[in-house]
């Protein structure tokens, strides 16, 4: 039974009651049609819709939109939102949600700036303290929700006030910027700066890993008739062609060259999360707990413990987002991350339609978050009057997602 809403986002509510199962094709259909009907392909309609939108922007705005540096800068600046999206996603996968992540990020922004400059702590220690604060926050949330059974909304709204309040108490309600003589360590501000780039080798390793991962992921798409060996060869071919196209059409080497530390951190965190979700028992337990709590319990999953861990992981990711926000801002303004909450949730929910059919995914969250930013950025570059951007953004978001919903209905 497909439930909607925050809990399980599989969209088709109407058919839910009477159509229990995706039917396996009984008679052999033409291989291509069969391929197109696969959920992986169906799940990419929204992705394709966005790509077409950006192509449209490209035609309209030319190089002022299709500009690697500018678009990477957009990504760079939105890294805290993307990480918050991941923080939100973890708890959503577990069937809960967490409204306190943005406040946690605000808190660690203050802590990282304050401890490093005002209190002059060495930076490693600051980082450890911030992440520990993230762990503590996650434990509080997990304890309230899982052990005490407090309504998730109230609990995380309450702790959200607690965290943001703590940041204000720490700074006496003012903004914090390093005083002269108490500058932040340069490597910290460098990490937050777009002009400082990590060694290209790091990024190339990431590309190589992505290629390998894509190769591995493609295994699932094996056409039924194909034998394993020939599909392996085909997969190598596909990955190579994609890399080639990216290199020629999108100037992959330049992209790799221009990635900032924050972007690299996002990719690394994303990869870690992806591995956690797909290749460890924890990811499996979490998905089971989110999909059917009772069944997971009966199957021997320690649901409470796993969901608490999800809150902790969310807290740590939010704390990291806050530290990176501090690094890129160089100072902390009151409630600085408050505005990131809805975009972070939007990114996580977009992941259920970008690259997926109803599941929350790591890469979908990151890419969904980036797409939202680019969509509105294109409007701004195009000089659309500011009062119209909200309207257009809303329509684009809904339309891109409605497409995939329509696709699904068509099939049903």
């Amino acid at each position: 039974m497909a439930a909607r809403g925050i809990r399980t986002p599989a969209p088709a509510p109407a058919g839910a009651a009477q159509a229990p199962a995706p039917s396996r094709p009984a008679r052999p259909a033409p291989s291509l049609r069969r391929f197109l009907a696969r959920p992986e392909i169906e799940g990419s309609v929204t992705f394709v819709a966005f790509v077409l939108l950006f192509a449209g922007y490209g035609i309209w705005l030319g190089s002022s939109f299709l500009n690697i540096d500018d678009r990477l800068l957009d990504v760079h600046q939105n890294v805290p939102i993307l990480l918050l999206g991941l923080a939100v996603m973890v708890t959503l996968v577990a069937g809960a949600f967490d409204l306190s992540v943005a406040s946690m990020a605000t808190l660690t922004t203050f802590l990282s700036i304050g401890l490093a400059s005002k209190d002059g702590w060495p930076f490693g220690l600051v980082l450890v303290v911030c992440l520990a604060v993230g762990v503590a926050g996650g434990l509080i949330n997990g304890f309230l929700v899982e052990r005490l059974g407090v309504n998730t909304f109230i609990a995380t709204l309450g702790t959200s006030g607690l965290f943001v309040g703590a940041s204000k108490v720490y700074s006496s309600g003012t903004q914090l910027s390093p005083l002269p003589g108490h500058e932040l360590p340069t490597w910290f501000t460098d990490v937050g700066s777009f002009s400082q780039k990590p060694p290209a080798a790091v990024m190339w390793v990431a590309v190589a890993l992505a290629a390998v991962a894509a190769f591995a992921a493609l295994e699932r798409l094996k056409p039924a008739g194909r034998d394993a060996r020939s599909w392996t060869v085909a997969r190598v071919g596909i990955v190579a062609v994609v890399l080639l196209v990216l290199t020629v059409a999108a100037n992959l080497p330049k992209i790799v060259d221009r990635c900032s530390y924050l972007v690299a951190v996002t990719i690394i965190v994303g990869a870690g999360m992806w591995i956690l979700m797909r290749f460890t028992t924890y990811g499996r337990y979490l998905r089971a707990a989110g999909a059917n709590r009772g069944a997971a319990r009966l199957a021997g999953v320690h649901v409470q413990r796993e969901v608490m861990k999800a809150f902790v992981l969310g807290g740590v990711l939010a704390a990291l987002a806050g530290v990176l926000l501090g690094a890129s801002q160089g100072s902390a303004a009151p409630d600085v991350a408050a505005g990131f909450l809805l975009p972070a949730f939007a990114a996580a929910f977009l992941s259920t339609v970008v690259f997926s059919t109803g599941q929350f995914t790591v890469w979908g969250t990151i890419i969904g978050g980036i797409f939202v930013v680019w969509t509105s950025q294109g409007l701004i570059i195009g000089g659309v009057a500011p009062q119209w951007t909200d309207v257009v953004n809303g329509v684009v978001l809904v339309a891109a997602v409605a497409l995939s919903a329509l696709m699904k209905r068509q099939k049903a």
Binding site: Q18, S23, F279, R284, R287, A291, N292, A295, A296, L298
Partner: protein
Amino acid sequence: MTQSIAPAPPLNIRGLTKTFGSTTVLHGVDLHIGPGEFVGLMGPNGAGKSTLIKILDGVHTASGGTIRVGDETVSSLGGRSDVGFIHQDLGLVESMSVLDNLRLGERPLRTFGPLLDHRAERAAALAALERVGLTWAVDELVAALAPGEQALVAIARAFGRGARILFVDEATSTLPVADAARVIAALRENAAQGATIVMVTHKLHEILDATHRVVVLLDGRLAADQVTAGMDRAALVDLLLQHEAAKVERVPRGADTTAGRDGAAPVLEISGAFAGRAGPVDLVLRRGEVLGLTGLPGSGLHDIAFLAHGSLRPARGTVRRGDGVRVAIVPPHRETQGGFDHLSVHENITLSSLGNWTTKLRLLALGREKRDSAEMVERLNVQPPGIDTPFGVLSGGNKQKVIFGRALLQRPAVYVLCEPTRGVDVGTRSEIYRLIEELRDTDAAVLVVTSDSEDLFAVCDAVAVVEDGRLSESRPIEHMQPADLEVMV
């Protein structure tokens, strides 16, 4: 399927008591189960069977009594690798693959660090599935499997973990005959290899076919404990009904029923309809007629039921209902499609017929509504009888009664009853048969969609069989023998 199972330790339950609030559900149950025994656990709805098993699993904590495995006193058997549990809802995560489900809660097989070894996991899963003959399904989503196959996955999972004692709570009640037979066969096979099995069921033949011993719970007390060998159906029924007034018997019907109903106007006509997996479907239902539909799982049997009810629209063909004809349904999967756990029994039972209690101001006459639902609850002998009880706490069979009551309150011209006796005790079963007879007498048309051949013989005038979505001609029940159906189904 040749692995043999190391003999299980004996299981000793003494004085097991359970109270919920101030309700006592189990009154000091004593039970000894030896290694390699196949025990059937029976008793009316709400007797405490599921509660007993949930205590053993650690879902509930006993209010009193001891549980001993071998020489060890334990508070529950949950979490032990040598004990497996399969509850009424199988405990599978439908949106995950069979492989994922088999690995849930297992010691992880890893390559390096925390990374999972997919090859080893697959091999282990295949080994477990082999025991129940389901190796082909390893990568399928559980949701895509037939219900019987899902039950087999649950069994495979239990034994795959090295279970030597297995508790099965009504795993077959939702299964069609053939699937149920597969599950029973798998269980019997494992029992033969040394596993201890305790199975809750309401199906008499399963007890007679498979078990060594039958234990009967009545009102939370142990009422009987006998060896099955040599027992026949009648003896078992006697055992079950020793405290009950009702007797299961075919309600005798006048010979003229057939003649009368052919003349009546059709209230529901389906012609050339396709929907879901069903089609083409041609069917005519008249007042005063009880038509049985039966078929294999995946045959589209229930799709036809939904088609007749109107909750599924035909992709092709037509479904015609007479003027002002209302159709009520008792859905096949009561746990998911039936009721509303957090709403009260009263709200559950009146939901479909709220129009009956609407006043001129379009407000609900709550008093009248409650009185009528209390009456229905009493008539169906729902236990416990309070109409403000949340639906979710009712035992399986009592939920079924409430859903049945909801259909009755609608007073429709057509009843679509899917698996009307699924999971209900022997006494209630005959009560339900009596009710269906009554409906016929009040000139309603009844479509009984069932995989239980007893339903067909007990109440149906005619029976049609669904095969691959196609509906056969209906044949009068008088001309059929159980063997006929077994051939067809």
